[in-house]
């Protein structure tokens, strides 16, 4: 109907699948994100490290390239091993933290500040779908920064080294995939929870860093004062580091985590404690979201 007719008419056309409806939210969020030049540049810049890694892998397996550069024995300097992949994950995960701190607060807080939640939830659209939709954009972007380039590099190395190398190092791929997911799920939940409680975006972003760095400092203070190691339970990067070591290397490990996510030698916490601490943090985030993501505020 032409717009000039200006009459109301009911809609009797086809409807989209309810299962995929939550994807509407990340589509709009992605369009909004593209409007920010800073975020776009930051996102693109985050691929520099994986590109350098790809170049290293390529050069290491290309004798003519090494000859051209005059460094025939350079392939002995850098080994493509667990440290290589964990370092990649460590760097990329730190960049993911920055991305979550920049984009996360803009997800829920505008809807809360403008009372838009009642409009979202007055439709055939649940609170879970809303959170899932908001998380999807963060998860997609952070995936593109962490495990996706990690697995591509693993594939490239496997292609260069051969099938046997891939089979022998399958744990690196699974560690990369699951380790990154633990981290980005935590980041996405935390970003949304803080965004739901702190309506001022810069404050919510700053709080993201606060949770990681200030809580880590708090844990270190507890350790120093009480002469214990349990203060590390407040240090999220150490918890993640412990989990990564287990995911990448199993029980017999040679590293103590990745860059930014290192565990202090001799002060390792039992693995189940690390998992439990992260689970508690996730539950707190979910509780915070459940309290705030409501169609109508209840004044008791």
């Amino acid at each position: 109907m032409a717009v000039y007719k200006k009459t109301y008419r009911p809609y009797d056309g086809a409807l989209t699948s309810p299962l995929s409806r939550f994807l509407v939210i990340p589509r709009y969020a992605f369009e909004d994100m593209q409007k920010s030049r800073f975020l776009t540049i930051f996102f693109l810049a985050s691929f520099i490290y994986p590109l350098i890694c790809a170049l290293i892998i390529y050069v290491q397996h290309n004798a003519s390239a090494l000859n051209l550069l005059g460094v025939q024995n350079a392939n002995r300097l850098i080994s493509i091993n667990v440290t290589f992949f964990m370092s990649l994950l460590g760097w990329q995960s730190m960049l993911a933290l920055f991305l979550a701190a920049f984009t996360g607060p803009g997800q829920v807080s505008p809807d809360l500040a403008n009372n838009a939640l009642s409009l979202y939830l007055a439709r055939p659209f649940s609170r879970v779908e809303y959170v899932l939709g908001k998380m999807t954009i963060l998860l997609a972007l952070m995936s593109a920064m962490t495990w996706v380039p990690g697995l591509l590099l693993f594939g490239l190395e496997g292609y260069m080294e051969g099938w046997q190398w891939m089979r022998d190092n399958a744990r690196l791929a699974s560690g990369m995939f699951f380790g990154a997911w633990v981290w980005i799920l935590l980041l996405a939940l935390l970003a949304l929870a803080l965004s739901a409680w702190v309506k001022w975006k810069p404050a919510a972003g700053a709080l993201m860093f606060g949770v990681f760095f200030v809580a880590g400092g708090f844990g270190a203070t507890i350790n120093a004062v009480q002469r214990t190691k349990w203060g590390h339970l407040f240090n999220i990067s150490e918890l993640i580091g412990s989990i990564w070591v287990q995911l990448f290397e199993g029980r017999t490990h040679i590293t103590n985590g990745a860059v930014f996510f290192r565990v202090i030698e001799g002060e390792e916490l039992p693995l189940w404690c690390c998992w439990a601490a992260l689970a508690v943090l996730c539950l707190i985030c979910l509780y915070m979201l459940a309290r705030k993501i409501r169609g109508a505020e209840v004044v008791r």
Binding site: Y11, A14, R21, A116, Y120
Partner: protein, 310 residues
């Protein structure tokens, strides 16, 4: 046909405080008014119908679907215009309405088309690309109406749609609501504390007080049944005899302020006979108005009961 809304012992509690208390009603009208003073439970009832609050006991049904067990289905039938400002300030009007239509299940291309249509329909066609944050209050109200109708709901829920509007904007909003109602494609619920808005738009009214149903009336039937309701302004010393004589003729009478007399004429009695009796009693009838029980009378009567219970 299923009633539009059926409340069956509905009780809603916030903590220990009962907000809606054992509400029972069957509303079948095309346009239903929800009236009540502040804190009567109007918004809580709307939020419960939308599934935002869980009933403590009893249930509510919309078009026969339980709001508790079929919340998603119920919400797919509803278009909701909330009372407060609800939008994303940094989004353009048409993009916001498109987003809302897509969340209601419309494919992107249909959602975009209907968002444009809805904006033209509510009179905001020229400003649809402006950010919602820059809209005036009247424009924001119209934009909220646009997002409520864009996906073609079967039931339109309007919570205080004329809140904060200046008289011309209010008239325009009422006209829009009347237009939507008269097309007959959907039912509407209008919650307001402004009796005039409800009277102009609704054919059924549910009056709430302190979480109870204080009154329920079908305005259409009320208008029909009160056709022989007269208000007279009289002068003369024999008013008392005049009233007695009218009662003998079968009228119900009541004396109002400043010599005004209210009469309900029985079937068969002509107004001419009234003048004859007045002349015989030497009473002058200075003014005669055919009057009906206004919504204000009904509302005030409902408010007289202290706990608001019928």
């Amino acid at each position: 046909m299923d009633p539009v809304i059926e409340l069956d012992g509905l009780e809603v509690r916030f903590g220990k405080r009962a907000i809606l208390k054992n509400l029972k009603a069957k509303l079948t009208g095309r346009s239903i008014g929800l009236l009540g003073p502040n804190g009567a439970g109007k918004s809580t009832l709307i939020n419960t119908l939308l599934g935002f609050h869980k009933p403590f006991s009893g249930t509510a049904r919309i078009f026969g679907r339980d709001v508790r067990t079929h919340a998603r289905e119920v919400r797919s039938l509803i278009g909701y215009m909330p009372e407060n400002d609800s939008f994303i300030a940094s989004m353009s009007g048409v993009r916001f309405v498109r987003l809302m239509a897509e969340l209601a299940g419309l494919p992107p291309e249909h959602a975009l088309e209907r968002a444009h249509e809805a904006f033209f329909y509510v009179g905001l066609g020229e400003v649809r690309y402006r950010n919602l944050g820059t809209y005036s209050l009247g424009m924001k109200q119209a934009a909220k109406l646009a997002q409520a109708i864009a996906h073609g709901p079967k039931l339109l829920v309007l919570d205080e749609p004329t809140n904060g509007l200046d008289p011309p904007a209010r008239i325009r909003m009422i006209q829009l609501i009347q237009e939507i109602r008269d097309r007959g494609d959907l039912h509407l619920i209008l919650s307001s504390h402004l009796l005039r808005d409800v009277e102009e738009c609704c054919d059924e009214v549910l009056i709430l007080k302190d979480g109870n149903v204080a009154a329920f009336c079908n305005l259409e039937e009320e208008r029909r049944s009160n056709r022989r309701f007269l208000e007279l302004e009289t002068r003369g010393e024999a008013n008392g005899y005049f009233l007695e004589s009218m009662e003998k003729l079968g009228c119900e009478t009541a004396i109002g302020a400043q010599g005004r007399v209210k009469l309900v004429l029985p079937d068969g009695l002509e107004v001419r006979q009234l003048y004859e009796v007045a002349a015989a009693q030497n009473v002058q009838i200075r003014r005669l108005n055919r009057k009906r029980d206004s919504l204000e009378d009904i509302f005030l009567k409902a408010m007289e009961n202290p706990d608001g219970r019928l």
